[in-house]
């Protein structure tokens, strides 16, 4: 385990260096310069505003990554976390702004979390059922599912939920918004819960056995269908919650323009990055969210946001290569 983490660390460093070199070649770093980047990096971790902002952004990344660690251990390679996050945010917005229930924040917030989780789990179940009963590849199904949700969102924002001239919905009112601390605490709780399920529960062992040797699981009565449907439900549940955290934490409204830069896909990357360990996934998510904050601060000095997303991918690639190469 330690050895894997050592290799991952090397991978992260190589990834950062590669990313920086690439930016130098492309010239996209020149607006900020090396000093600008280092200064921003120090600023991110020493200043309370960016630090808290990184914890806010942590929510959707961590929640999706944490659920995916369980799914990936069972070799259920869903990428539906992106769609589930969007679905969760739609449900949350509906509950607090469009449902006309006028709930008190103290009931609205937990209910929106649970409802988003539930809807996310339900969508996960559909992907799982398709895999289990008619053997459809979950990667394709979940990818198409993500597009479907994205278009539903676009439709809502530019049609029924639109206010005013632009394709944008109502905004979550102040009293329903949540802060970085609550988001961080919820992420930690979910990570601990996932870790507990993986290491201490019967389901967790069934997941491990099925992921490593499906035939063994089947032979000794650890029903593959139960395993896959369970991990599909769990990963959908946490990703859905991630959507609620995104909506209540920082997104506040929906619009085809300002939709997530792919927090769910980042969750996929983080999950691989962490070798499917939910506790490490939590840390890696924070790393990713702080890179996002870093990117936003560098944007002011002219660095494109696409560069930050490229850096994230380069890091994941480097880590995976490092793990494969440095076997001994």
């Amino acid at each position: 385990m330690l050895r894997i983490e050592f290799r991952s660390l090397i991978g992260v460093i190589v990834g950062l260096i590669t990313g920086y070199t690439l930016a130098l070649i492309l010239g996209s770093i020149s607006p900020a310069g090396f000093k600008g980047i280092v200064d921003s990096l120090i600023w991110v971790y020493t200043n309370s505003t960016p630090l808290l902002f990184s914890l806010t952004l942590l929510g959707p990344i961590a929640c999706s990554a944490i659920g995916l660690t369980i799914a990936y251990r069972a070799r259920f390679i869903t990428i539906g976390s992106e769609g589930q996050i969007l679905l969760g945010s739609i449900v949350t917005l509906w509950l607090v702004e469009y449902s006309e229930l006028n709930l008190h924040p103290l009931t609205a917030i937990p209910i929106s979390l649970l409802l988003s989780g539930f809807i996310g789990a339900l969508s996960g179940l559909v992907i799982g059922l398709l895999r289990v009963y008619i053997n459809v590849n979950e990667i394709l199904v979940s990818l198409m599912f993500n597009y479907t949700v994205l278009y539903i969102l676009n439709h809502l924002a530019s049609g029924p939920w639109r206010i005013g001239a632009f394709a944008i919905t109502k905004s979550v009112s102040e009293e329903y918004r949540i802060g970085p601390l609550l988001i961080a605490i919820l992420s930690i709780v979910l990570a601990l819960l996932s870790w507990f399920i993986l290491t201490q529960s019967k389901l967790g062992l069934a997941v491990e056995v099925y992921g490593k040797a499906p035939r063994v699981a089947e032979t000794y009565g650890l029903d593959p269908r139960t395993v896959i449907l369970s991990v599909a439900l769990l990963s959908g549940f946490t990703s859905g919650i991630g959507g609620a955290l995104m909506m209540l934490g920082f997104q506040h409204s929906l619009s085809p323009m300002s939709v997530s830069p792919g927090y769910g896909y980042m969750g996929v990357l983080v999950s691989w990055l962490s070798a499917n360990n939910p506790l490490i996934a939590l840390l890696a998510s924070w790393f990713f969210s702080s890179i996002l904050v870093l990117g936003r601060s560098l944007q002011a000095s002219g660095l494109p946001i696409g560069y930050v997303l490229a850096i994230q991918s380069i890091i994941v690639l480097s880590v995976m290569i490092a793990r494969k190469i440095m076997v001994r």
Partner: protein, 502 residues
């Protein structure tokens, strides 16, 4: 006769310190059939693997055509005209026989003109008397047919020396006769044949010369004329080893078959992975306290029968009844909960999960049991259980947290069997429980299963007839997917073999 290959003072030590070959020297001559005789684990296979470049000796040398021959891969052997046919030749199931042959030849670095090639294959096949349909798929070949295709490949490569590892394991007596004359005609073309076997009568029937191995050493080389059954057995087992092979001793008294049935299989029909009917109307019964064997040549539906009984494969007709309850429609979980111990024929990937610790591997088959709690695993208790299981196996294990792959093959088998018996099962279902194990370990495993079966019941499906005759109270013989005979003690081995090949 000219010497084709000489082996000089070869010594092979496996990781873990097992000396597989110890100072082995042997000349292999052109145009002779040399039998390499010895019991399982005597070092025969290791020796031919050295020649094939698959095992590196720590010392000693091989001389081929007056020059030092140091193969570093099987390809080197092929290029030097040496062909090895392993005990269970591996084929690409999805290819046709022709495609598989072409692929092998390409791997050996030969270029092929398919049209001309087909004619050559036909020629050689006719000469071998081997009727093989080149267009049939490899998965549909019997083991005997696969052996013949291997010989075909060796001839297409024009190999000077053929090494055959226990080639008769899956042959019928008739096939064996045919095979014998094929080998004879190959030898007459001044090819060298090395025939590895643990069966004395085969060595006597086939060979010009017999080299006997025991515990990694060559203990005697005899001309066919000077060899006799008694003499060879003496060489194989030492002075006092007579009773070990040819006269099986029943483990225990005959069990009277009037007790209540634990397992009943009624008119079971099962399809194989390719949709073909492989189990055709099997009926059998296992009563409390009994050890019941299912004998047969591999590939006659035993695996599918096993899978259907444990619930992995759905039968198309018939019933599986466990303690009076029809469980046909139930999955493996239900059977595990009802107290069925399952010992599949493959350890890694079927009985044990690689990449997980010993304690996880012990726990995995206990999970469906309700006594283990509903949701949470008590890992403290789990480790105690793992230690108890390890104690049954009598295997030295430093910690139950070690990866299961850190155990040797034999120890993995003992762990898997012990785990299943730990459950105090009502019924043990095992397939080839001692396959690939050395003499000592297979004896231990057999004893574990039989002892446990006296308090429960056991169905053992095995390709090792000797083993079944030793431990079973009753033996069903399976051939072509059906039961061809039921035999009670005292067994008549000849009749059983006849039923196997019927």
């Amino acid at each position: 006769m000219k010497t084709f290959l000489s082996i000089r003072n070869v010594r092979v030590v496996y990781p873990g310190g097992v000396i597989a070959n110890d100072d082995v020297s042997l000349d292999i001559r052109e145009g002779e059939i040399l039998a390499l005789l010895g019991e399982n684990g005597a070092g025969k296979t290791t020796l031919i693997r050295v020649i094939a470049g698959l095992v590196k000796p720590v010392s000693g040398e091989l001389i081929l055509g007056g020059r030092r021959y140091k193969p570093s891969s099987y390809r080197d052997a092929l290029e030097n005209g040496i062909y090895m046919v392993s005990q269970m030749p591996q084929f690409f199931d999805g290819l046709t026989v022709l495609e598989d042959i072409v692929l092998t030849l390409k791997l050996a670095g030969k270029s092929i003109d398919v049209k001309e090639f087909k004619v050559r294959v036909k020629d050689i096949a006719d000469r071998l008397g081997a009727k093989v349909n080149l267009n049939s798929y490899c998965w549909s070949l019997s083991m005997g047919e696969k052996q013949r295709v291997e010989l075909l490949k060796a001839l297409l490569l024009d190999s000077k020396m053929l090494m055959l590892d226990e080639p008769t394991t899956h042959m019928t007596p008739l096939e064996f006769e045919l095979f014998k004359s094929t080998l004879r005609s190959l030898a007459s073309e001044s090819r060298s044949i090395v025939f590895v076997t643990h069966k004395v009568h085969e060595a006597l029937a086939v060979a010009d010369r017999i080299a006997v191995m025991r515990r990694g050493r060559i203990v005697g080389i005899l001309q066919r004329e000077e060899a006799s059954e008694d003499l060879l057995i003496k060489y194989m087992f030492g002075e006092n080893g007579h009773d070990r092979v040819f006269t099986f001793k029943p483990y225990s008294k005959v069990i009277h078959t009037t007790r209540e049935p634990v397992l009943e299989v009624l008119d079971l029909w099962v399809r194989g992975s390719y949709g073909q009917l492989v189990v055709r109307g099997v009926n059998l019964i296992v009563r409390r306290g009994e050890v019941v064997g299912v004998a047969g040549i591999t590939g006659n539906g035993q695996k599918e029968l096993f899978e259907a009984i444990i619930g992995l494969r759905k039968p198309i007709r018939g019933k599986v009844i466990l303690e009076g309850e029809d469980v046909t429609g139930r999955g493996p979980a239900y059977r595990v909960r009802k107290g069925v111990a399952i010992i599949p024929e493959e350890r890694i990937g079927w009985g044990l999960a690689p990449g997980l610790t010993i304690v996880m591997n012990v726990m995995l088959s206990l999970l469906p049991l309700n006594s283990m709690g509903r949701f949470i695993i008590n890992w403290g208790r789990a480790k105690e259980i793992a230690r108890e299981v390890i104690a049954i196996t009598d295997v030295k294990v430093q910690s139950p947290d070690m990866m299961v792959e850190s155990l040797s093959g034999g120890n993995m088998q003992r762990l898997m069997v012990a785990r299943e018996l730990y459950k105090k099962p009502k019924l043990i279902i095992a397939m080839n429980p001692t396959g690939g194990l050395d003499f000592q370990t297979s004896k231990i495993v057999r004893e574990m299963v039989v002892d446990s079966a006296r308090a429960s019941a056991a169905l053992i499906i095995s390709e090792d007839l000797e083993e079944l005759l030793e431990i079973s109270d009753r033996v069903y013989v399976m051939s072509g997917g059906s039961i061809r005979g039921v035999f009670e003690r005292p067994f008549n081995a000849g009749d059983i073999i006849k039923a196997m090949v019927s």
